[in-house]
Amino acid sequence: MIAEHTSQEARAFLVRKRLWQGFTSWANRVAGNVFIWPTVLVVLFLSIFPLVISLYLSLSHLKFVKGGFEIRFAGLANYRKLLFGSEQEHFLGLIVNPSPTGWLVLLTVVAFLIWSLIGYLRSQHCSVGGAAGRIIATLIVSLLTWLLVSTLSPGGRPGTVVVTILYVFVGIAAQYLLGLGLALLTTQRLPGSRFFRVVFLLPMMITPVGVAYMFRMLTDTDKGPFRPIWQALGLGLTSWVNDPWGARAAVMIGDIWQWTPFMFIVLLAALESQSMELIEAALVDGANRWQIFWHVTLPQILPVSTTVILIRMIEAFKIVDLPNVLTNGGPGTATESMTLQAFITWRSLDLGGSAAIAYMLLFLVTFVGMAYVNLVRRRVTEV
């Protein structure tokens, strides 16, 4: 009797145990999915819908009529307006014949691109997809270079596309170099470096709108703190606001000030975690500091550098707060970035036009991102 009872219990226990084991081993098998699906679902949920709606909006005109609003399909009208129509000067810029230097730059770039394309086509691992991609990339880069060169030549005026590209490339370069320099200086275990590390983080922590207003205060030549310096230089009666390049410089300085900490912190961490053995070995072998940096340190931090540059680059293309608050895109349209143009258009309820500009930005960033990942990051990491 007791034996039966216990064997019943034992059986029940065994069944439960087997069920549990079955469950855990099943869970273990699908672990891969369990790890990734929540993220994918959340991102999908909030990304597909807006993407599709914006695409549709960019192909339509919005109008308020009796009883509500109507969205009329208009095909590529918004895009045509941006690229060939009334907004072309605003978007692409005033296109003139490039100056001699311009021609030189353009031809050099195009020659380089064609040379690398031919090299790829003749290589071993050429594929149809790869070749197609390369050809498209070559075309787009050439077009962009031509746009840059012809709008920046004398007599031309850069549109929002060129200004945005300028902000991104100059800004990223400066931020990276500054961030790296600061990180190199702070890794040396000098007393007080902890203080510097915290202080250097500060600019990134201020809300971007706040940073923009802060810079507006600072750059005010009348009420701002730099007035004595300005006047001492004899520029009391001029203002950077009236000069397109002065205004652009102000925006870029604000951007660099704000985002250098991002590069700084990531690169600092990377430098801190280098393996000291390699460095010591190199020192013992008689390498000087520059050689150590170039051959030992830099390769170690290259993977992180490429990640952080990619992340920062994608964010930099969306710059809007600084030009908006500092000059509202002025003087004229000199400091207007693509996102700012989309924002201004959107505020007046031209949702179609604004979506079209946003999509052009998306194409541009996707292109630059893919090119960057394929060219730079793949070479540097395996992932």
Partner: protein
């Protein structure tokens, strides 16, 4: 003597001149960073006349400091709004950052340890069904019906058309897709997201903000943690697996503790992003769930920017984040990502 100053004292210790130079450069940049903040600090104590009459630098000496701005923001007319918005920010930002960290780290771990081969067909049918579901929701159908119907359609499509497209993607494509979510400027997606949350009845709630920030910041977490996980040696996990630990256990008990520095640093970054976000908060909030960045921007009304109020708000906003940064800084130093995992 001069030569002594210039020579390095050992292989790894710099010379005195180098130390001096380092301090000089660091001090210079610290000045560049701190001066604007000092200006904000002094402006918060200025009267409007003081601000408009020209630059005054030293409180007490150049101008008489006044607490009117602090009073207005913390105790006076704006204090109710400030308090409410502050509470909202304090609740929304850390919550969404923690959730992002949880989901994102799991996904990053998955992307470095497992090989995913989603079939193109499956992906396409999934996306098509999601689009149909979402359109049904916006056209007014109750979301349970729409979700259920779409799911059934998905299963059907999967079995039929899904099988046709054999081509599959890889981990790095998934990763690129995730980061590409950040490429579209928020201004283009604000109104669709507004409509989506309106249909779900979640407008003007903190939940909506948390979910949105979660979705927006996940890609960053995934990309940052991916690099880090790829440097943790696999042997540790293989040992654990041999000992019978499940993947979840390995993840939770072995990998995560080893990556604490990276986790903390990523958390800080995502927290800062959510804390300071403006455009989505503006659109998804109404009377109840506004956050602090809105209050900062709102100080620019028809009268022109109220520099004194804005300065106070900026300072209030930075303080909690700085406190957290100081507390967590030592972890950051030891490694955002590429970890020195030494035994």
């Amino acid at each position: 003597m001069i030569r002594y100053l210039f020579t390095r004292r050992s292989l790894t210790t710099p010379s005195y001149i180098e130390i001096a130079l380092t301090y000089l450069l660091l001090g210079l940049w610290a000045l560049v960073v701190l001066f604007p903040l000092y200006w904000v600090f002094t402006t918060s104590f200025k009267l409007p006349v003081d601000v408009n009459m020209g630059p005054f630098y030293l409180p007490g000496i150049d101008y008489k400091p006044s607490l009117h701005a602090w009073h207005y923001i913390l105790v006076g007319d704006l204090s109710r709004d400030t308090r409410r918005n502050f509470m909202n920010t304090v609740i929304v930002a850390p919550t969404s950052a923690s959730l992002a960290l949880l989901l994102g780290t799991a996904a990053a771990y998955g992307l470095t340890r497992f090989h995913y081969r989603p079939r193109l067909g499956a992906i396409l049918s999934f996306i098509v069904c999601m689009i149909i579901a979402i359109f049904a929701i916006t056209l007014g159908a109750p979301w349970q019906v729409a979700a259920g119907g779409a799911f059934i359609l998905f299963i059907v499509l999967l079995q039929t058309i899904g099988r046709r497209f054999k081509r599959s993607l890889e981990n790095r494509d998934i990763a690129f897709w995730l980061i590409s979510q950040r490429m579209l400027p928020p201004v283009a997606v604000v109104i669709p997201i507004y409509v989506l949350f309106q249909r779900l009845g979640l407008l003007d709630t903190r939940t909506a903000l948390i979910i949105t920030y979660l979705a927006v910041n996940l890609p960053i977490v995934v990309w940052l943690m991916r690099d880090y996980f790829s440097t943790i040696p696999l042997e540790l996990e293989e040992c654990a697996a041999i000992d019978g630990a499940s993947r979840y256990r390995t993840f939770w008990s072995i990998v995560l503790p080893l990556s604490k520095p990276g986790l903390v640093a990523t958390f800080l970054l995502v927290l800062v992003f959510s804390w300071n976000e403006y455009l989505l908060a503006l659109f998804l909030s109404g009377a109840r769930s506004q956050t602090l960045p809105l209050t900062v921007a709102a100080q620019n009304a028809t009268r022109g920017p109220q520099w004194w109020y804005m300065s106070v708000l900026i300072l209030i906003m930075i303080v909690p984040v700085i406190a957290m940064a100081i507390a967590l800084e030592r972890y950051i130093a030891r490694g955002l990502l590429i970890g020195a995992v030494k035994g």
